[in-house]
Amino acid sequence: MSTTLEFPFKTAHPNYLNAEYGWKSWLFTTDHKRIALLYLFSITAFFFVGGAFAVAMRIHLMSPDGIFSHDTYNKLFTMHGIIMVFFFLVPSIPATLGNFLIPPMIGARDLAFPRINLLSWYIYMAGGIFTMFAVVEGGVDTGWTFYAPFSTTYSNTHVILAAAGVFVSGFSSILTGLNFIITIHKMRAPGMTWLRLPLFVWSHYATALIQVLGTPVIAITLVLLGLERVFHAGIFDPNQGGDPVLFQHLFWFYSHPAVYIMILPGMAVISEIVPCFSRKGIFGYSFIAYSSIAIAVLGFLVWGHHLFVAGQSIYASMAFSLLSFMVAVPSAIKVFNWTATMYKGSVSYETPMLYAFGFIGLFTIGGLTGLFLATMAVDIHVTDTYFVIAHFHYIMVGGMVMAYLGGIHFWFPKISGRLYPENWARFAALIVFVGFNLTFFPQFILGYLGMPRRYATYDQEFQMLHVMSTAGASILGVGYILPMIYLAWAWRHGPISPQNPWNAKGLEWEQSPTPPPTFNFERPPIVTEPPYNYSGEEMEVEYRNEH
């Protein structure tokens, strides 16, 4: 490992991609940018595995009879959920874009603990192998929620293997979050005060708090689940004096905040894209920054809204309902501020901005339908129906995956050093938007009409809507495969990108070469202006010259 501390690094155009070659230089790297790419390729693989299960489900649901046995269908939705939640959504933006961008954004040469960063990827892969092994061995049929006592007593599938996979991968999430917290606290460049941090970093800080505080709880919950499955001591079994609702409490104590692990990084990306393509400073910077923290804190107090019909006390339900409404406030603050940022800005329609538009619209629908579900009386009608499925897919797919794709496009020049074909990308963004809505909007209606989730069959009257959903899913699939193709092409053959192709603000664009060298900067960065200074407030140029 090089330990030179001399600045500037006197080299021609070396960057993190051409610094070293060979598989060892990737598998044993401690460079946060290379680790981000390791994550990028592995989560993309898991995304397509999880997507394959979704495709199988949608094909099955084209007719009430389906093509798979009901047992197989149970396994399909379980594996789809486990893989998408724990192996795609949770690590998606933090482990790839967050890993790549947080150090350059705050002016650091790497994350605080580079070796732990690499370790987190290996742990993630180990967890993934456990889970894929469970798939190969025949799958799991408990749903991604592993509810007891079905998972502890009655299921004959590989619950322990899959739970072990989730348990192990949780540590990778913890280590990533820990690394981010320390990095943001201790590694900021001179002049990078807390209120000059890009909102991307603020959101990731909030995400990291949840990862660090929430993930250990799911870990111990899965340990208890595994022990109970082996010893049958009855801790979650009502026949033996245990309480299955305790499992649900412990599970959702993590898994509801985990929803914010899955959406806050999406908000992080949107907060960067919107001001750049509006050519305008972000509206209400500190409100957006603090709303991320508010979401992280309030997010820990709302888990009981998953238990409205589980026999929870009605007074607890009322408190959880109220708190769930409150968590909508900081989310809405963000949406209003992004919109206000665009107001009177010079909005242009490059691909990242198209995804940002998609995010804002779909996240709003997903968020508002979340309020329906937080309302106790309405929730009783739609609990465990397709309404819930549609709601969280609007957040997770319409929100997070849109933001992820937007972010990948926005920072693709930074990561690869090349430009992607803009028109193809715009076309793909449109396809994703249309396909997504056609897939999931009918599911709102299905759920409202009473179609329960996780059923392998349904009433004839629902077929029309199911066919629409399946048709949408096939369009959505095309929308996901297209970027794979043209981005892979652009990685080798795209035009060479200038350092700052979007004319964006931020250390990673303005002071770090494209693609960045191993230590991100050619000379130590100094921050002399407020964040998102698109209107060009006076810069303290003298300060820069003095140092």
Partner: protein, 224 residues
């Protein structure tokens, strides 16, 4: 700031200051803050079991009291004293590291390790006792007061889960101590660089504190 780092460098062996840090202070603070954050995750990890304990003790106070009475109070008390003692020797080890006293450092680390091993051995004796008494949850579980048997089984389940997780942390801690002893023997530490001793110290104290909560909650609730 970028200039002052060169001045500070001479205080530290160059290979101990990693390339991405500016100053030894920054590196030291990052490592200790990292350990504190990790300990917070540990609090949440054990917290899940403490939450389960709270729920079931509220539901079944009498069964829990009855089951708690069958715990081996002598070994539990001895282990509490041993762990507090090991925390004391660990503090002395950290202090010796800060002062750069190599021999004292190695001595106190070995002492701490030995106390940890005594704790684990006594734990083994206790687990074996439970096995003989059929107090291990599962098909062979048996409890003398049949009206409490099922509920007592939950306490024993929690007992094994909680003390088992604690023992696992002790084993990891013993491994860390062993590593420190080797590092100290190879003269890796000095009064300018002793970060690993410091953060393993934090970890060791945390594991002790967990036991301080486990002991009364598992051993003492039946004895008023």
């Amino acid at each position: 700031m970028s200039i002052s780092r060169t001045e500070l460098l001479h205080e530290v062996a160059p290979d101990e200051l990693k390339h991405h840090f500016d100053t030894p202070e920054q590196q030291f603070e990052s490592s200790t803050l990292g350990m504190w954050v990790f300990l917070i995750t540990e609090v949440m990890f054990f917290g899940g079991m403490f939450a389960g304990y709270t729920v079931y003790r509220n539901l079944y106070p009498k069964a829990f009291a009855a089951a708690s009475e069958s715990m081996n109070l002598v070994i539990g008390t001895a282990n509490t004293a041993i762990l507090i003692g090991s925390s004391f020797t660990m503090v002395l080890a950290v202090r010796s590291a800060q002062l750069g006293r190599k021999k004292a450092l190695i001595g106190f680390l070995i002492f701490t390790l030995l106390l940890g091993c005594v704790f684990l051995s006594l734990k083994y004796v206790e687990y074996h006792e439970k096995w003989v008494d059929h107090h291990v949850p599962g098909p062979a579980f048996h409890f003398d007061q049949p009206q409490y048997a099922r509920q007592a089984q939950i306490l024993f389940f929690l007992y094994f889960a909680m003390t088992g997780m604690h023992a696992l942390h002790m084993i990891v801690g013993a491994g860390l101590l062993l590593t420190l002893i080797f590092m100290a023997a190879k003269n890796r530490f000095s009064e300018h660089w002793f970060t690993p001793v410091e953060i393993v110290g934090l970890y060791w104290h945390f594991v002790d504190i967990v036991w301080i909560f486990l002991f009364p909650l598992l051993y003492l609730i039946g004895r008023t």
